[in-house]
């Protein structure tokens, strides 16, 4: 059972190598960028000694803020990459097998359509984020190692200036929380993508995107309302999700006043509020919609009959 599920998702990685190549490329670029910044900025312009002196001057608070920003900043690049990756994967997942005509081969094996579609949903919502997180964590470590070397060259203590201040474990726990949250929050869009890839004859991209453009216009024209925009597009802008994920008061400290007034011993995890997230009606409404589109994708994979030629 587990072996079966593992190979079904492994198959997705064989087919869609972008799922790990994209974060790999991003990691490479981020590390290269940080290295360049350290060598030219820290090395040639300021000088490593001055850099270290500046870090020491900044004291505990400055170090925490600086190093945390150094670690968190690149994560956003990965998240943007992941969003694109998951979108393009989901609109291709059930279309590619029809395009390359391998679908009948897969159907010649004892696999149910439900198993196959769910494995693709899990790949988009779970496997892709986990892989990206792996690269994020590895990138953090590499960046901190580069910083360590820079601090050493400048004659400072890497432990005091880099490793002790950085709340690495907290950042990682927070990242995992956000990734799980994002997977659940954006699941209806992933399921929609899978649905389109199962149902569209061609132009899956247009099928997936156009309704988000056309529906609000039609709705406005006919009913003079904007319910669709409020639910489908409002949800897509990540603010709703962020608001639902964190407790309100602490959010202001973390995001409003970054980084100058951050207190030295801020606990990132105190921001996390899973109870609030789980009791958001929008989350559950979205999951119901996701279940509907997933069922639709399964239906189309089972019933559509494209080789009706003889």
């Amino acid at each position: 059972m587990i072996r079966r599920a593992y190979f079904l998702m492994q198959r997705e990685l064989w087919e869609h190598r972008a799922l790990y190549l994209t974060p790999l490329v991003i990691a490479f670029i981020v590390v290269l960028g940080v290295a360049t910044a350290l060598v030219t900025g820290g090395g040639r312009i300021v000088g490593f000694e001055n850099m270290v002196a500046g870090m020491q001057l900044g004291g505990q608070v400055g170090s925490v803020a600086g190093v945390t920003a150094l670690a968190v900043g690149p994560s956003t690049v990965f998240v943007v990459g992941l969003a694109f990756l998951v979108f393009f994967y989901s609109i291709d997942a059930l279309y590619a097998e029809r395009k390359d005509r391998s679908i009948l081969f897969w159907k010649s094996l004892p696999l149910t359509d439900t198993e196959v579609v769910l494995s693709k949903l899990a790949t988009a919502a779970l496997v892709a984020p986990v892989i990206t997180f792996g690269f994020v964590a590895a990138t953090h470590v590499v960046i901190l190692c580069l910083s360590t070397v820079a601090v050493w060259v400048g004659g400072g203590s890497a432990w005091e200036l880099v490793w002790r201040p950085v709340p690495l474990l907290q950042i990682w726990v927070l990242s995992v929380y956000l990734l799980i949250g994002a997977a659940l929050w954006f699941l209806p869009y992933i399921a929609w993508g899978l649905f389109c890839s199962a149902f569209a004859k061609k132009n899956v991209f247009l099928w997936a995107v156009l309704p988000f453009v056309v529906t609000p216009l039609v709705e406005r024209l006919l009913f003079d309302t904007n319910l669709f925009a409020k639910f489908a597009l409002g949800r897509l802008s990540y603010m709703q999700w962020i608001k639902a994920s964190f407790s309100g008061e602490n959010l202001h400290i973390a995001f409003g006043d970054m980084p100058g007034r951050l207190t030295g011993d801020v606990n990132l995890l105190s921001l996390v509020d899973p109870g609030k997230f789980l009791s958001t009606p929008g989350l559950w409404g979205g999951l119901v919609v996701a279940a509907g589109f997933t069922a639709g994708a399964i239906y189309f994979r089972r019933y559509r009959d494209e080789t009706a030629n003889g």
Partner: protein
Amino acid sequence: MTAVVQARGVSKRYGSTRAVDDVSFEVEPGRIVGLIGPNGAGKTTLLKTLLGLTDCEGELRVLGLDPFRQRKQLMQNICFVADVAVLPPWIRVSDLLDFVEAVHPNFSRREADAFLERTPVRRDARVKELSKGMVTQLHLSIIMAIDAKLLVLDEPTLGLDILFRKEFYTTILSDYFDEQRTIIVTTHQVEEIEHILTDVMFIDDGRVVLDESVDAVADRYVELTTSGDRAEEALALQPIARRDVFGKKVLTFEGVDRERLHGLGEVKTPGLADLFVAKLRGARA
């Protein structure tokens, strides 16, 4: 022993056209059934209903299962090769074998490996890097390693050169077929499979126009090559089809005693392709 396939009044409609029209037949274990018909006759649709790829009306049991509703159990005991069931081009040979091993309870990796040993297919190659013949060998290695009760072949050798086509059927006959196993095959190249079939089904316009064992066909149908006055005499016996070959008349008879025809010219059992044409002309006339 129970029939491998039992079909009673099976129909499949696409809109207003009936691709399969009220078809009834049975296939016993240990048979090799050739499903023969022109393009658009409903062969592929019929195979699809057998494989549970599409829903149908009527009563259909394959290996005792409802193919559409019990597909997963069914596919554990059926193998299926079609020119349209292409191996995914992006997959590596070794990964493909790993995958099938993981999801198919009746697949023997050892046998597949042993089969591939005898071919030039490299394990680390991707399917898209292989020639069409090698892809077929790879597919065969998987089919041969699955302990299935029923093998369904839909134009399996389309686009292959003659050597691979011969090898394909030889392999299936020698390494796969036995009295517990059943094969249903469709192809345009009737002559290539004629000698391996035990049964033939002709299908035209969604209907079965002939469903016989090859032995029964040999008993019932006679082809007479004749000319001149004897041809006139033979024509009086009402052949179901006639054609002219090099100035001679070739007549096909159904249910006419061979002894009666012996005096009238050269008598033999018709080839399936000719018989097919004869039957279809008759049915359409």
